[in-house]
């Protein structure tokens, strides 16, 4: 009843191929965008920005990136944390090296540098696949974190080994540094998220995305019908690392402000982003957002319920969170390998005929 497509006729291919072919979806999408851009910035406060919205937006970009590589192209990567670190340190070096250039370009360039590094570590994927490749990407994870920890040039030889984001402005509004306001950082990240999601959606449904999916589904068959595996895999690594690099740069510059690489971009981060795409849905843009939202909200929710309402100690809540996340991963892999996105698809099917199913 709420969700109907009767009377929604398409008269040309262009209309048929839109991202949201059903009118209801389209309006929901525009409404979400309108709320995100026009309402949230006026009601946002520091707690919501730092605990929920900023991590959600930034992880959403990383999740989109990993989903392109793992969900669409079928190459499992456990090096996401390392690539986020590349983005963060590239952004830091650019910010301190070229203080007159606008931060927007720094973030985009950081993504580009990460893409180059990603391609480099993606080269073994031409010879190996499956979890052999997953283990090979672990090499990237450990090597990159060690590199940023030990080579002084990357953190400008600061005594603490940390990197700190200097204050930078966009259109005269501070977006990085210690004195930013919540709405500015939120809007800055939101713009990047919307652009990245738009790029990802259009790349994955174009010829590039079809090549990736062909490689994922069966590489030999894909090669026979004329997909170049070298090109498809390396572009997947490049695009994925580009997104991951942007999210790393934002994570450092806008969200945290100061970063110690081993703590922030360790192996745990790689697993977190991998879990987001498993729970959200492999090979789905909507799933990337759903997974990121779920795993950002879950700890906040558990903390509020367990320590806030029940008054349990925080370490207990942390242990229970580990158990729940682990159990959820297994449960999703067993019951719904396509994640929350598939659950949403099924709900839509149900809603189409509700309340008179046939």
């Amino acid at each position: 009843m709420i969700y109907r497509e009767a009377g929604d006729f398409k008269t040309n291919y262009r209309e048929d191929g839109r991202t949201f072919p059903i009118r209801f979806d389209r309006w929901a999408y525009f409404a979400t965008l309108a709320v995100a851009f026009l309402v949230v910035p006026f009601v946002i406060n520091d707690y919501w920005a730092n605990a929920v919205l900023l991590p959600f937006l930034i992880y959403a970009i990383a999740t989109l990136g990993l989903n392109i590589l793992t969900g669409y192209c079928g190459q499992v990567s456990l090096g996401t944390g390392g690539f986020m670190a590349v983005g963060a340190y590239a952004c830091y070096k650019l910010m301190t090296g070229f203080p007159d250039v606008n931060i927007v370009f720094h973030v985009i360039l950081a993504g580009g540098i990460t893409a180059a590094v990603g391609v480099l570590f993606g080269l073994p994927s031409l010879r190996i696949k499956g979890f052999y490749l997953a283990v090979a990407t672990l090499a990237a994870q450990f090597f990159l974190v060690w590199l940023f920890n030990r080579v002084g040039w990357f953190y400008n030889y600061s005594a603490s080994g940390q990197i700190n984001a200097p204050t930078r402005t966009v259109f005269g509004v501070e977006v990085t540094g210690p004195t930013t306001s919540a709405w500015a950082t939120y809007l800055f990240c939101l713009v990047f998220v919307v652009i990245c999601a738009w790029l990802a959606r259009n790349m994955t449904r174009g010829s590039l995305g079809r090549k990736w999916m062909a490689i994922r589904d069966m590489d030999i068959a894909a090669e026979i019908i004329g997909v170049n595996p070298l090109g498809a895999k390396l572009t997947a690594f490049a695009v994925s690392s580009f997104f991951v690099g942007i999210s790393g740069a934002l994570f450092f510059a806008v969200y945290l402000g100061a970063v110690e690489v081993g703590e922030v971009f360790g192996i745990q981060k790689s697993f977190l982003v991998l879990f987001m795409i498993i729970i959200g849905g492999l090979g789905s843009i909507l799933g990337s957002f759903a997974g990121a939202a779920f795993l950002v909200l879950l700890p906040v929710f558990l903390k509020n319920v367990l320590t806030g309402t029940l008054g349990w100690p925080t370490d207990l809540a942390a242990h229970i969170e580990f158990m729940i996340v682990g159990a959820l991963i297994c449960a999703f892999l067993i019951f719904e390998p396509h994640g929350l996105a598939q659950l949403w698809r099924l709900t839509k099917e149900k809603l189409r005929t509700w309340p008179f199913p046939y």
């Binding site: 997953a134 672990l138 974190v145 100690p313 158990m323 682990g326 297994c330 892999l333 067993i334």
Partner: protein
């Protein structure tokens, strides 16, 4: 120059001992991989869990004490008894068998015939669960594990080498014990898989699932058996590492160190796990000794992985592995 050489030999020997420890963990991986094609990421956490359980039982800790206290407002933490080590090890073993059964029943049964990468991700989920569960059950503080293994510098080696070269080698007693135990363990495992009925069934399953099924071998019971053995190996590894550096979270990270060992040795070969572990152990210590100062130190973190990566490009099946890897 001779001094330098002696140093290098000592470093290599210590690396050899560390390599034995890696091999112990890698062994658990190989066993499960051979029998079920599952790459068990949770092996390291299983070692941690086994060690935690052992310490908890020996000290008579109340399981879930934290949770019970938080819910009921009590102050329980210890039963007040101390179990002898042998008894505690037996109980821990029983718990690991129960764990193997539960994993098989709750997770693996439902994921039969899935792609290896899905199973791999499921074991990552399992690792997370077990990590939280272990901490919840026994507490997250660093514990001291003492099952009566000898520790400290071996005086005999120190004296002998001092008399021979004028420089005493530092070799930890615990490392020697670990080497002996690893050797015994491998011998027992090889004998088991060669000369017992279950061992033969295990090899049959490893060879071909369907053929094994058709001659009447129960896959389920074999998998429970294999996970139990892996649990036992995890317990041994957990005891060794726990005695060396305390039972704590970082114990679970040795699983990550075991991955390059496997790449080097091959995923399907028990001798490969041993040799790979030794190569990685000696290699990373020597590399740190020779090139570490020039590169800024702590190269152990990544040396093994990069070595494995290079290896993978040229010989994907590892040193002793079968040629099962699909080349693209």
């Amino acid at each position: 120059m001779f001094e330098q050489f002696l140093f290098a030999v000592e470093v290599a020997l210590n690396g050899f001992m560390a390599g034995v420890m890696y091999s112990l963990v890698a062994l658990g991986f190989v066993l499960i991989f051979k029998a079920s094609g599952i790459f068990n990421y949770a092996q390291g956490v299983m070692a941690l869990f086994a060690a935690l359980t052992l310490v908890g039982l020996m000290d008579g800790q109340v399981p879930f004490a934290h949770l019970i206290n938080a819910v009921l407002g009590t102050e329980a933490h210890h039963f007040g008894w101390h179990l002898p080590a042998v008894l505690a090890i037996l109980f821990t073993m029983a718990i690991m068998v129960a764990f193997a059964w539960a994993v098989n029943e709750l997770i693996l049964k439902h994921l039969v015939n899935q792609e290896p990468i899905i199973l791999f991700m499921a074991t990552i989920g399992l690792a997370y669960f077990l990590e939280g569960f272990g901490d919840l059950m026994w507490g997250a503080d660093i514990k001291k594990l003492d099952v009566g293994l000898p520790q400290g510098i071996n005086g005999w080696i120190d004296e002998t080498t001092f008399n021979a070269f004028g420089y005493g080698f530092f070799i930890d007693n615990l490392d020697i014990v670990a080497t002996v135990i690893a050797a015994v363990l491998v011998t027992v495992l090889v004998l088991f898989s060669q000369y017992t009925k279950q061992g033969r069934a295990l090899r049959a399953v490893a060879d071909d699932h369907q053929a094994a099924l058709s001659v009447g071998i129960s896959l389920n019971s074999i998998w429970v058996l294999v996970w139990s053995i892996a649990g036992f190996v995890a317990l041994v590894a957990g005891v060794m590492w726990g005695a060396k550096s305390g039972v704590q979270f970082s114990l679970s990270l040795i699983a990550l160190k075991a991955l390059p060992v496997l790449m080097l040795g091959g995923f399907t070969s028990i001798p490969g796990a041993i040799v790979g572990g030794l190569i990685i152990g000696v290699g990373e210590k020597l590399f740190e000794f020779l090139a570490g100062p020039a590169l800024g130190g702590a190269t152990e973190n990544w040396f093994a992985f990069v070595l494995a990566l290079v290896f993978l490009v040229f010989r994907p099946q590892g040193l002793f592995g079968e040629k099962i890897i699909e080349r693209v």
